[in-house]
């Protein structure tokens, strides 16, 4: 019994590492397939698409560097949805992690 308690007391939890893992997950959630390509709803893509939102069709390279014909407004809409969803769940999980005080509660 005392050995178990000693063992538990020794356990460490790295908060920063958990935040990093969460950020990694957030990055993964930004990826999505659309119009035959694979895209990432990051800030750069959203800004780029915003600049072309009044044009019907543009050629834009996906994350595999394949140029694809897309409708910028359509893709922008999906990007915004994906970003919002992923960022919101990131914020919720981040707040939960911030409450953890002991390795036992991880």
């Amino acid at each position: 019994m005392s050995d178990n308690i000693k063992q538990l007391a020794k356990l460490a939890w790295d908060r920063k590492l958990s935040y990093l893992n969460l950020q990694e997950r957030f990055q993964d959630e930004l990826t999505f397939a659309h119009s035959g390509g694979m895209w990432r709803a990051d800030k750069e893509t959203i800004s780029f698409l915003n600049a072309f939102s009044n044009i019907d069709q543009i050629t834009f390279e996906d994350i595999y560097n394949v140029p694809r014909q897309i409708n910028p407004s359509e893709l922008l809409e999906v990007c915004k949805q994906k970003y919002q969803f992923a960022a919101n769940s990131w914020a919720v999980e981040y707040a939960n992690l911030a409450k953890v005080r002991k390795a036992d509660n991880v």
């Binding site: 020794k10 356990l11 939890w13 590492l17 990093l20 893992n21 990826t31 397939a33 991880v106």
Partner: protein, 266 residues
């Protein structure tokens, strides 16, 4: 077009008399697939396994000897690893995602492979959630010429025949390719074969890093927030898809925990 997930599982006995129940682990994996991807699951095995939408019964393939640490004991067992390259003809699905049975899904990420639908997609980057970068040395094949892929998760559709033909050719000449790319020919590894396929033929890498924990990470518990691992004197909870290398997950207690967790609706 039918879509589904395929698992390969052959139970094996170690030289210490322990049974490594890959088929039981496959049931855990299948529960998680149904929960997160909502897709049918097929299993390729040498026996009938209950609880799968498709059960493809085959002969056990040739085995290579593998050493593992189970329950604190170094043990060796026959590793029936050489079947993936035959799966193009065996899969009952038009679009197939193949997963290792020790890869536990906790998200719906892999649905993106079906939506993208390139003929052949494979993981080529791993992430160590313990922060130790334990697998960075495996980013390239041993002679540093081409990136290493991980056959832990592969997607293909009916247009992928040439990828599997190429994999079969490499496997049939495994010794030659092991000399070219600097890996050992003594143990057949799907990772090596499909890394060469990925390099030689136009393919797409799955665009996220696969979370993977080393064999020193012990399962502590699993709940709605993920799987908790202990390593050295640290703990971490992984709430995303994670490939678990430690074979202790096949100990009875751990299998029970995982069965309960994977079938529980949170």
């Amino acid at each position: 077009m039918s879509s589904g997930v395929l698992l390969v599982a052959f139970d094996s006995e170690t030289d210490q008399g322990n049974i490594l129940r890959y088929t039981e682990l496959a049931k855990v994996c299948a529960n998680l697939v149904r929960k997160h991807l909502n897709l049918p699951v097929g299993i390729v095995s040498n026996t009938k396994v209950d609880g799968f939408e498709e059960n493809i019964i085959v002969d056990k393939p040739a085995a290579s000897e593998r050493h593992v640490l189970v329950d604190g004991l170094h043990q060796s067992y026959n590793w029936y690893n050489d079947y993936r390259r035959h799966l193009y003809n065996l899969t009952p699905f038009d679009c197939t995602l193949l997963l290792d049975v020790d890869y536990f899904l906790q998200t719906d990420q892999y649905l993106k492979c079906f939506e993208f639908d390139a003929p052949f997609q494979i993981i080529n980057q791993v992430y160590d959630p313990t922060g130790r970068s334990s697998f960075s040395k495996y980013s390239m094949l041993p002679n540093r010429t081409i990136p290493q892929c991980w056959a832990t998760a592969m997607y293909w559709n009916r247009d992928a025949l040439e990828y599997f033909e190429y994999a079969n050719m490499i496997a049939d000449n495994y010794k030659y390719y092991s000399r070219v790319f600097g890996f050992s020919h003594k143990q057949y590894r799907n990772d090596m074969v499909f890394s060469i396929v990925d390099h030689m033929l136009p393919s797409y890498n799955i665009p996220w890093r696969m979370n993977m924990v080393g064999s020193d990470c012990e399962l502590v518990d699993a709940n709605a927030d993920g799987i908790k691992f202990q390593y050295n004197n640290n703990v971490i909870r992984v709430g995303t898809d994670v490939h678990v290398l430690g074979k202790n997950i096949m100990l009875e207690d751990n299998l029970n925990k995982l069965q309960h967790w994977s079938s529980h609706e949170y």
